[in-house]
Symmetry: C2
Subunit: 404 residues, 2 copies
């Protein structure tokens, strides 16, 4: 599904219909600079689509549209830095020294603030977002990076139900490390942590899950230290976990400060709290600030998700597929392990990177496109329209490969 970016598969009639509708052709032909010259109906379109109840990330009322996942994270970082700096100067106006020093990339105008990220994370590949990406060396080598703190993401033992105590300890270890890093970077390195970025499921890094309790505590740690919590839903957002946003599974005490998205949402962007809205214009800005032609596609998509109850289908088919995969894990004992997932956002590990690549290549020969992630995981990223019939085709093919 084009790296998890097609929510309804190919040639869905709702999307083709939106593109064929001549009312939409002028929107596709005349791309505006949304930051300065939005079309008259742009606010209404945002309300009806991205801010619609059931689509918007719960509790977040503000939306900023962008182009792709990397630039959504980069601009969300900027929103966080601007908010953090305003807190630090207690709302006072910029000093002359700040205004002048930033023009030559020096502090205090260009401050040494940081974003804390996690080992194994993937948040994009432009220079800011790449400084928070730590999934594969080939993404990062030879490219300059900011000296920002990197904490451990929980590494659980599977099956979860047999390793409850150990995995709870792992949560505690990681949370303690996060707090230590925040204090160390602030006090020792003079690089305060303005925000924390985390995926609700580390996707590119290997489909690493963390518990709702971990995320609940992370929300508290983040607030306690005055750092914004950014949940990166670029790969998990838009329905594949059975909720519109994966972090809805976590029952956080209060919403994250920022939720970024792209891929299945067709355009990039982020939801955020009113606090994070800059007080001055032109601070988070670029020529296009998104693309109304993508909102046309997204409107058809979210209408279809609602009309066809696709989130319920994802839960049902996800449970079915996960259950069958767990059965298969026992059946082929030792050949695959750590079957895990939410909705149809499912993965399992092979025993070596080579055996993983072999499984993917043999699936491919049978007409099934699957992807690898992390060191030796196979990940499933079907469209939301994936059903039991499709699951059975996949499961039969996988069984016969593993039994060979």
């Amino acid at each position: 599904m084009q790296i998890s970016s097609m929510p309804l598969g190919y040639n869905h009639p709702a999307i083709l219909g939106a593109v064929a509708n001549s009312d939409n052709h002028k929107i596709i032909a005349n791309r505006p600079a949304l930051g300065s010259f939005p079309g008259r109906d742009w606010p209404k379109r945002l309300k009806n689509v991205l801010l619609r109840k059931g689509v918007a990330a719960p509790g977040l009322t503000q939306i900023t549209t962008m182009m792709c996942g990397s630039c959504s994270n980069e601009n969300a970082f900027k929103n966080i830095f601007i908010w953090y700096a305003d807190k630090k100067r207690h709302g006072a106006p910029f000093t002359r020294e700040e205004m002048e020093s930033c023009m030559i990339n020096q502090s205090p105008g260009s401050p040494r603030y940081s974003i804390l990220s996690f080992k194994g994370a993937f948040h994009g590949r432009t220079l800011g977002s790449l400084s928070t990406t730590h999934s594969k060396y080939i993404h990062k080598i030879d490219v300059p990076a900011f000296d920002w703190p990197i904490a451990s993401f929980p590494e659980y033992k599977y099956p979860l139900e047999e390793n409850v105590r150990e995995n709870k300890k792992e949560d505690e270890r990681c949370l303690a490390e996060i707090e230590d890093l925040i204090v160390k970077y602030d006090k020792e390195k003079n690089i305060p942590v303005a925000g924390i970025i985390i995926e609700p499921i580390q996707s590119e890094g290997g489909d690493h899950h963390a518990s709702p309790e971990f995320f609940q505590e992370l929300r508290k740690v983040s607030s306690k230290h005055g750092a914004a919590l950014l949940i990166d839903e670029v790969q998990t957002g838009g329905g594949p976990t059975g909720k519109m946003w994966c972090h809805e599974h976590f029952n956080l005490e209060s919403p994250p400060d920022v939720v970024t998205f792209s891929k299945k949402m067709q355009l990039g962007g982020y939801y955020h709290t009113p606090d994070l809205k800059p007080k001055q214009s032109y601070r988070v800005y670029n020529t296009w600030m998104g693309d109304p032609s993508k909102l046309i596609l997204l409107e058809a998509i979210v209408n279809t998700i609602e009309k066809e109850n696709l989130l319920n289908q994802v839960v049902r088919v996800g449970d079915y597929t996960l259950g069958k995969l767990k059965d298969l894990q026992k059946e082929v004992s030792g050949k695959i392990n750590s079957v895990r997932g939410r909705g149809t956002f499912i993965a399992f590990d092979c025993t070596t990177p080579a055996s993983r690549d072999e499984v993917i290549s043999k699936l491919h020969a049978k007409g099934i496109q699957a992807g690898g992630c992390g060191v030796q995981a196979v990940r499933l990223r079907p469209a939301l329209t994936f059903n039991e019939y499709h699951a059975d085709i996949f499961l039969d093919a996988l069984r016969s490969i593993l039994k060979e």
Copy 2:
């Protein structure tokens, strides 16, 4: 023109026709992940549109597509860093230390390389490109930046023909400063300059021009010090200076190593030399790597530019407008100055920021959308279809405002 991003104005029949053509609807509806799953005809489409003779930047055979101007510059930086690092290690494989240190943002894997940029420059707003942007403090304040060198861009006295000697000296001053900075950052700060980024006309910063001789020497300085030369044509590219790429006016001894684009080209991207192509896969990569639906629009645009000889029209109408503006500059002596431009990419200065804002606001009241840039400049960024009739409407309105 939506911040110089609409080459043919609104609702051009060629663009509307391309969008209405049902052959194109599946391309708009099914956006691929171009880096891994390009459509069968994607290479042909790239050859026919972006790499077409008369469209491609002369001498550059390689194309990488992206989403917007910022991410084009960011990814071009990465290409430059990768090329530079490979030169430094004489083509040897990565060391274990490099592979491990880059995962935690530390050298040698995350090296302290830099991109040299210029005072007054604008290259985008994500964290890497923002480190090379120096046009207005509000773009930069409170956002961390890399410590990269910043050189003076020539500041000329106008009219040029009366200040030849002085302006030549200014070129020499800036070129000497560039060489000094390259040496200083390498030897004293241990932050080698891997590349130089420059606009052929500093646009957002105030429509600052530099001479062809300056750019010719810059090309030599860049090669001499082993740094790649990146010409950022995001605002100047696509025809407004009367050539497809503004740097074609400069008669460089050899082509720049990279030319980035966006805006009028509908999608982002860059042309580059074969040397800059990374030897390994997945180093410059992201989910979408551009957008075929934008190439549909661009194809209609470049066909129209050819068929209607629009580059010739830009030269003719640009000369006409520039001549009339120079006459007007004399006529209203002292009220505007430094009339300058190439093609219809024209600007003039007012005497104060306030008088500039007043001119723009009064033009607006007469139904004319003009933009400000730099401290007190008014910039013209019409579509390529702008003709003498439109120029006269603008010139009459401006004359009556300046005479009031």
